[in-house]
């Protein structure tokens, strides 16, 4: 079940990095990220709970995490 309002894209370099994956999982207040088999997973049913806090964006290298607002075509970081 994909998000209706929000989608999150994570670069392969981050998704495959166990340490960064764990960090994203920790910072997200609404559990959009999870780690399985050392890889980052997106928890689709939680996507719409995103509060646009940008903590994930700040936790990963610049340009590797993108939060898309499906209702306006905008994304974060702006």
């Amino acid at each position: 079940m994909a998000g209706v309002f929000i989608d999150v894209e994570v670069a392969e370099s981050v998704a495959g990095d166990a340490e960064l994956a764990a960090k994203l999982t920790e910072v997200c207040p609404v559990d959009i990220f999870a780690v399985a088999d050392g890889r980052l997973q997106i928890v689709e049913e939680n996507l719409d709970e995103c509060v646009l806090c940008e903590l994930c964006i700040n936790a990963a290298p610049e340009g590797t995490v993108l939060v898309k607002k499906l209702y306006s075509g905008e994304s974060l970081p702006a």
Binding site: V4, F5, V30, D48, E49, V51, L52, K69, Y71, S72
Partner: protein, 403 residues
């Protein structure tokens, strides 16, 4: 939360206040056994949380155990004011010489508990206060300093009661005042408190109401009385719709989407917060609208919880549209509520623009929320549109549907 009479009597009995040798049962045959044990005329009293049980036929006198059984059978099947009885109380018919009143309540103005005592009991104390004000004594007492017996003595003496009656009443009122404080009661009342032929006193009926917020710290008492955690004992019993609303609120600990109350109209309300909901409900009715429900959103619930509430309201039989309205929010987020109500529409296969009559929630994250609403073509309003005007627009839309 109110106590049944049989529970209230147990509470005062534990506090050391004399009660009659009553028995409680849900079984007519056992009512007979209790009457046999009592061995004289009895009173069979319906155990319901509503007034007017005497008038409704919920209190009957029996001369024999057989009669007690037959009355118990009738009363157990008798609905009073929409409530079925929890059971019956079989009480010895006491030979009372005089009926007194003793009670303790909160005074929200003085912010202290107040004892009320009267030698005129058996009827509503407010009626006595109106007709014979000199027969009603009142005295506030500290909620920090330990309660002292002289305080009870003063209030009783102020009504003209003296002699051995005074000395016997002081410990009763003292115990009542102490149990009120110790058990977080909001009402503790013995009415009537009967004086028997031998001069002794006995509680013949009792009303108690414990503060909901203090149920946790009175868990032992409630467990001893057999009161279940799920029992809310509202003035009206919860409907299935209302129970489903509680389940939605319990979905997560984030925020509140609760106090769902069922009404029989066609306009579903997804409204908040406390004061805003009251204002909006009045406004919808003032414009001739018929609300399908009342509710309160607050404390920034998550999208899933908001969607759960909106779905519940949208699926209620007879609901044509929902109005999503709140007073200006500072903690709850406009965009999160917008996502929740739109998601509810989409999940149920409805067009949000069609189903949401109006969305009027200004405040935190409103710019983001309005983008979402615009995308789905939902009519929305900012703070320049009053709560009253938003309610009017919602009613106008739904009446357009009905016509």
């Amino acid at each position: 939360m109110r106590f049944f009479e049989f529970e209230a009597r147990e509470v005062i009995k534990r506090a050391g206040i004399p009660v009659t040798e009553y028995g409680f049962t849900t079984d007519p045959a056992e009512a007979r056994t209790i009457a046999e044990r009592i061995g004289g005329p009895t009173v069979i009293k319906s155990q319901v949380l509503t007034g007017g049980r005497m008038k409704a036929g919920g209190v009957k006198f029996a001369d024999t155990p057989e009669e007690a059984e037959s009355h118990a059978r009738d009363i157990l099947a008798l609905e009073i004011g929409g409530h079925m009885p929890r059971g019956v109380l079989v009480d010895p018919k006491a030979e009372v010489e005089q009926e007194y009143y003793a009670g303790v309540v909160w005074d929200g103005t003085r912010k202290q508990p107040v004892m009320i005592f009267s030698p005129v009991g058996g009827i509503d104390i407010e009626q006595v206060a109106e007709e014979q004000p000199e027969a009603v004594g009142r005295r506030h007492f500290s909620n920090i300093l330990p309660f002292s017996e002289f305080q009870a003595k003063e209030v009783i003496a102020s009504t003209g009661v003296t002699g051995s009656a005074l000395n016997k009443l002081v410990p009763i009122l003292t115990r009542l005042a102490r149990l009120f404080v110790e058990n977080d009661m909001v009402l503790a009342e013995i009415n009537p408190l009967g004086r028997l032929a031998d001069g002794s006193f006995v509680a013949l009926d009792a009303h108690m109401d414990i503060e909901n917020e203090a149920r946790g710290r009175n868990a032992k008492l409630l467990k001893d009385l057999g009161v279940g955690d799920e029992e809310t004992r509202q003035a009206r019993e919860a409907t299935e719709f209302e129970l489903a609303g509680e389940a939605v609120d319990g979905m997560s600990h984030r925020g509140v989407a609760g106090n769902v109350t069922e009404f029989d109209g066609n306009l579903g309300l997804v409204i908040g917060a406390g004061g805003g909901s009251l204002t909006l409900f009045d406004a919808v009715r003032a414009h001739g609208g018929k609300p399908a429900n009342y509710c309160e959103i607050g404390g920034n619930p998550d999208v899933a919880k908001t969607a759960g509430l909106a779905k519940l309201v949208l699926q209620k039989p007879g609901v044509d549209k929902i109005a999503v309205m709140m007073s200006i929010v500072s903690n709850t987020r406009v965009d999160i509520v917008a996502r929740g109500v739109i998601k509810a529409c989409l999940d149920l296969g409805f067009d949000p623009a069609e189903k949401i009559a109006i969305f009027r929630i200004p405040g935190a994250w409103e710019e983001e929320g309005f983008k979402i609403l615009e995308h789905y073509g939902v009519e929305y309003a900012d703070r320049s549109v009053s709560l009253n005007e938003a309610a009017r627009r919602a009613v106008e839309k739904i009446q357009g549907v009905a016509a």
